[in-house]
């Protein structure tokens, strides 16, 4: 079917819709608490709001990845698997939709919280003059220690992309471990242990490959994180093809 991929993608988003709406709702509440604290000079509320927002940002991205792995597991190991695998779609498409949904969700949530963080920091610095002075002092100090170090949005954005890329690759490694567990090791002794060992081995391999890249230095912060993001994504693409090939050949649901 021509639009099979877009339909699959639509249903992948639908499966995770509820948890994303909950995350959005909690974020809205935490943001209101933070803004309330900021405008009414209630520092406790402001700090609580900021802490909860930080937790939701990090926790949200982690949760979306974990939820994606659990959804894949359910889609291969429960009766709901028929809903996917009886449709005229290849495993490449089925898994591709899952990978895209997860990658886009992690990226969008990451960008959303990054933008919200920038907005909140800007509001905070403009409302509290003394904090603005502290920020300037910190950046000056770092600049004096090493003139290449800069606390700016570009560096933070590069770091965010690097971390998101690594997390995405971790989720993809969990995908492959789960696919191997379901398609090749199903019903065998030590299935869980072997698939977890595969996950660890892949993580070590990616870490080893990334250690071959240039190390981090103050003048190359952006390059450092972008290279890590690119290698993580390239590794993820390779893992996707291996996983889909295994599913296509061996998976019985």
């Amino acid at each position: 079917m021509k639009h099979g991929m877009s339909k699959l993608l639509k249903y992948e988003f639908r499966k995770t819709q509820a948890s994303k709406l909950i995350l959005l709702g909690l974020t809205a509440v935490a943001q209101l608490v933070f803004l309330g604290g900021l405008f009414f000079r209630r520092e406790n509320a402001m700090v609580t709001g900021a802490l909860v927002l930080s937790f939701l940002g990090v926790g949200g991205i982690l949760f979306i990845g974990l939820q994606s792995v659990l959804t894949l597991h359910r889609d291969m190991n429960t009766k709901q698997s028929y809903m996917l695998f009886m449709t005229p779609n290849s495993c490449y498409r089925i898994l591709g939709a899952k990978v895209l949904e997860n990658g886009l969700s992690i990226l969008l949530v990451g960008v959303f919280f990054f933008a919200l963080g920038l907005l909140d920091i800007t509001l905070l610095l403009s409302s509290y003059g003394e904090l603005s002075q502290l920020w300037t002092f910190l950046t000056d100090l770092l600049h004096q220690l090493n003139e290449d170090i800069q606390l700016n949005a570009q560096n933070f954005a590069a770091m965010m992309f690097g971390l998101i890329g690594s997390w995405f690759a971790t989720v993809m490694m969990a995908y492959l471990a789960d696919v191997v567990s379901s398609a090749l090791l199903g019903g065998r002794k030590y299935n869980g242990l072997l698939s977890f060992a595969l996950f660890l081995a892949l993580s070590i391999l990616l870490g080893f490959l990334q250690n071959l890249l240039p190390g981090m230095s103050p003048e190359r912060i952006i390059l450092y994180f972008m290279l890590r993001a690119i290698t993580s994504i390239a590794f993820s693409v390779l893992i996707y093809f291996i996983s889909a090939k295994i599913m296509e050949r061996y998976l019985s649901v």
Binding site: Y11, A18, M83, F85, P88
Partner: protein, 247 residues
């Protein structure tokens, strides 16, 4: 019965479903054991056998959900594939819809993925089965769920329908509705394959029977021939094979 060559042919035979020396093992035990079987359009087949005889596994292999350990399973002389899923409608005995779905969502899902699905036909079938589109699938009784599975499967205009235990958990009146819905599709251009423990029920629908035992094919036979040549009904033959006087 077809020639066991281990290869698919280039020429397709419309509406046929066959397995050649097909085996599926789970943990070393054969659920389906070297079954060679050919099913043709224009017939309603009853696939019979007690639990563990291999009916569901054979159907799932024909639907492309389970990969055979060895042998070939063919639709229109080609190995089952993504293409065959466009023309083969399979209904599992277990409920398989996503928990967030309503009856209407189930139809929309099928409409999104199967070109031969008709939402209008689905609506008609739902009405016959006394199901509301707004009902949540999680709130359906086992009987209602069975009717929903039938409605959504039969709303496809497929070449092959495989219904695994369509009468499970269904009362007598609902069975009549389901039987009527199924028989509407028993036309010369379609192949229907049904499995059930309810032998008498199947005798009223099917014109051919496939008997499986311990994963092996006992026989695939025309009911009319069996009656005329051997003087046996489907139930008689069932008792012969699976009863104490087992072959």
């Amino acid at each position: 019965m077809s020639d066991v060559t281990g290869k698919a042919e280039k020429n397709t035979v419309p509406g046929t479903l066959e397995s050649r020396d097909i085996t599926k093992t789970f943990g070393g035990k054969a659920a389906v054991d070297r079954v060679t079987l050919s099913l043709e359009k224009g017939h309603v087949y009853a696939m019979l056998g007690p639990n563990g005889s291999g009916k569901t596994t054979w159907m799932k292999m024909a639907a492309g959900l389970i990969k055979p350990t060895s042998g070939l399973i063919l639709f229109e002389s080609q190995p089952v594939s993504i293409e065959s899923r466009k023309k083969v409608a399979y209904m599992s005995t277990e409920p398989y819809f996503y928990s967030w779905m309503s009856v209407s969502d189930v139809g929309l899902y099928y409409q999104d993925f199967f070109e031969d699905f008709s939402y209008d036909r689905y609506t008609v079938l739902l009405k016959k089965m006394e199901l509301e589109e707004t009902m949540k699938t999680t709130s359906l009784s086992s009987g209602m769920m069975a009717k929903l599975k039938i409605a959504v499967t039969m709303a496809r205009d497929a070449a092959v329908y495989m219904l695994d235990e369509p009468f499970n958990g269904i009362d007598l009146l609902a069975r009549d509705e389901i039987r009527t819905a199924i028989l509407e599709y028993a036309t010369p251009d379609k192949l229907l394959l049904l499995s059930s423990h309810l032998v008498e029920e199947m005798e009223a629908i099917a014109d051919r029977a496939v008997f499986l035992h311990h994963g092996r094919l006992v026989e695939s036979v025309s009911l009319e021939e069996m009656r005329e040549e051997r003087g046996l009904s489907m139930a008689d033959r069932y008792r012969q094979i699976y009863g104490h006087g087992e072959e």
